[in-house]
Amino acid sequence: MAAPSPLPPAFEAWFSGRGWSVRPHQLALLEEARAGRSTLLVAPTGAGKTLAGFLPSLVELAEREGRHDGLHTLYISPLKALAVDIARNLEAPVHEMALPITIETRTGDTSAAKRTRQIQRPPDILLTTPEQLALLVSHRDAAPFFSNLRRIVLDELHALVTSKRGDLLALDLARLKALAPQVSAVGLSATVREPADLQRYLGGAGTPAGLVTVAGGAKPRIGILDTERNLPIAGHTTLHAMAEVYQAIRTHKLTLVFVNTRMQAEFAFQALWNLNDDNLPIALHHGSLDAQQRRKVEAAMADGRLKAVVCTATLDLGIDWGDVDLVVNLGAPKGASRLIQRIGRSNHRMDEPSEALLVPSNRFELLECRAALEAVHEAAQDTPPPRIGALDVLAQHVLGVACSDGFEADALYEEVRTASPYADLTREDFDAVVNFVATGGYALKSYERFAKLRQDKAGLWRASNARVIQQYRMNVGTIVEATMLKVRLGRARAGRPGQPGMITRGGRVLGEIEEYFAETMVAGDTFVFAGEVLRFEGIVENEAVCSRASPGTDPKIPSYDGGKFPLSTFLAARVRAILASPSLWHTLPEEVSAWLHAQKRISRLPQPGELLVETFPRGGRFYLAAYPFEGRLAHQTLGMLLTRRLERARMRPLGFVCNDYGMACWTLGDMTAAIARGALDLDELFSQDMLGDDLEDWMAESALMKRTFRSCAIIGGLIERRFPGQEKSGRQVTISTDLVYDVLRRHEPDHILLKAARADAATGLLDIRRLGEMLTRISGRIVHQPLDHVSPLGVSVMLEIGREAVYGEAADEILAEAEAMLTEEAMA
């Protein structure tokens, strides 16, 4: 007798009606689900991951007698748009099989009435985002709402777990498992280096989920563009290659052109339109554009009305907007996993190869593209190590739990530790977090009477009043956006000398830019935005007022945010290996191998495991160039700390620059001579103890550290988020987290929130962990090369000068320079 089909007849018929057969991994997930086990599905794009994730739920719901009581399946996606898209895709089989299953989404766009109804009468399947899940879990009816939950489907899990959102989601998963012990979870993921990390995340710290792997489909066809024109020695524009990129767009159906930053997106979009003699429909898509404009582009893609879209990470994740047959990556991919993800956007059928073209913008980036290409062919990944759960996120979660049913401290501590990022959380830290949420957790106990959490008679911690709950609901989530300014068209009229001119607004809003970017501009600066060259006029309230620049104006792009994705450690090691192996260079473009040979002749090649430091004079100043290959963020921290030390060594440092590969700083003192006579010791200069007192001193005033603290203070619920329209109303003086940081640091340096901020700094904007690892690695292995002039590698770092010069942060020096600009008029 033949084994009975694992699928109900309706499903069998539906599959065969499409000429499909159910795939082995889909059946495997069905079996795992029937056994009540959580499972991680690792599969390449196009393997039918989503259907595999939902199939067990659909079968179970189809086979039930009568209605399921309450919510059956919860789906979580990192993007609202993806949740909506999946809901639509899921409607098709449900409709075609006429299954009595209700499917709904719950996002920020869902109306209040529908939200209330969803709590009272939940659908069978609900699709939502981590933030909305946090709100549901903190709802006072969370326990009955989730009591019958059977399945959780987590999409794009590899992308979710790498940030604080992943910490929050892990805590909410732990909560769901406590509310619904019968629930099992399935995680859908692209290929990752360590599936075991995700299995632990999904199943819980002590009970890792099972694993189902689908072997990768056809190998992608990836090329590195070999341009007619020579590859520039520095720069990030890829302008030299635009004609060839344009040709590639012409010969394909739909091309996605990925870039790393918004500014690059703007630049590439404009460059392509300058070449667009055929008037091809080429569009732009990035996070600062007006949402409506983005929706239009997405719709046009889906309808096949576009030929190419220039985009940033906003299109990285798995939404199918159209039939993409070529992916172009402008600039270096910065990480192998990101590249694999982007390439997967092309050709969503597993058995056909994706096609991709890498376009390096300078010679270093060519080496990086090479390294990434090899990594992709070996399917090697550089996913970061699993996170250690952030304490500010835990604080938010603790408040959330207190807002729903309340908690017993011992039980919540045990529950939290089942979330893998928090497996090693100490009881001391947990208690400190609870105290922080309740009364601020200060050594000085003066806020007891204002406590936000109080223990009831049964010992349960609960929110003290309705306002606390309201505050929590307004501030949920872990994404703290940089302050954004609207970009509005307007005009400036000249004012009297010494008085600002009048700026008139009234034009339309083109999108948003980061406040710090607007701050780097002065009136008259031109930049590219929303595909046009704009002239910056000034900031009025919370808007950056700009006018259209006269036709033919060259944009001046004063800021390049290349640091958004620092070079991954994994790719860095591969780039170093290429540099150290001249036998491989014959495969490189001629100008690149000539550049490396020149470096070998004039200076030396940095060998793996050592740090090459060059010193040379130039234009009356003295330079030091080092090549750690640790990414821009770590180099920036290194530069800040080195300039402090050079100051103490009386070398009179003036500034430094860095890129992903190296850093250069310059001084008035002759470093080559000082090293020669023993007055400056490189081993001491680069010794690990710079991460001690020097770092502490610098963090006291570092703007980056203050930004990090601000984000922890918002996520942890110390201060409230500011919402658009709320800020800068008249002359209202808002409380500044910088003031809070100063006071807290001085009076309670071990406070839990400072601990959270320091932990962030180790991996975030300051990348201290990576810098520390580098300093350990090169200790005693610094090779000094004195030179008469700059080396070929050095040029490519030095050319960053003027593009993104970063100076030491000594405020007084900057103020003194401003003071020196005092004119005679003003003195009068």
């Binding site: 009364t439 003066s446 204002f450 005092l822």
Partner: protein, 239 residues
Amino acid sequence: MTVAAAMLAKRPGATNEAFMLGRLALVPDLSGALWLPEERTLVVADLHLEKGSAYAARGVMLPPYDSTATLVALGHAIRRHQPARVIALGDSFHDRDAENRLAPETRATLSLMQQGRDWLWITGNHDPAISRAMGGESAAEIVLAGVALRHEPAASESEYEIAGHLHPAAKVRMRGRAIRRRCFAMSARRCVMPAMGAYAGGLNLRDAAFRPLFREGLSAHLLGDGRLFRIDPRLLLPD
């Protein structure tokens, strides 16, 4: 010699000396206080004591050390100048209930500072009445050598005044980096002092509120880490 003056002596090119407001000599202090040497008087503005606990009462648990931090800064200024009189230029207490929330130790520190010298609380919009329990005297304003000292600037064109209330701060950008600091805003008639309170924050000098006060000119003296800096107002940026 004051710390600021000592700093000036060491740094040629520094612009901060004593300023004359009518007949009254003023020496701005790095702490944000103003030293009147001839009157042996130290003036401080906008201490906003217990602002932290005022937020805590609304569920925003700011670190409860702001009153201590503010009084430490004030204590340093007092030790430097040994004034015979201290004048607090209004908004010394963040709200009417602040006096009651002051920790006993903080109250004791304040008493200690008041010993052996005159102490005058000028009233402000946040603290329109100050109880006797806080020591010293209180008044709506006082005139010294023809200069009125009051909380809110009166914007009169015909008198000299020293005021607080506005919390002046200034922002300047150099070499791609913006720096925002508290500052003294001065003209030939008027000095608006920076707020000394640890959580007091600052209002940008480019704000319209300053315009009617400085029609005849403005000089901005920013509080640096080691000294004061006089910055050309045309270099000042809005927030």
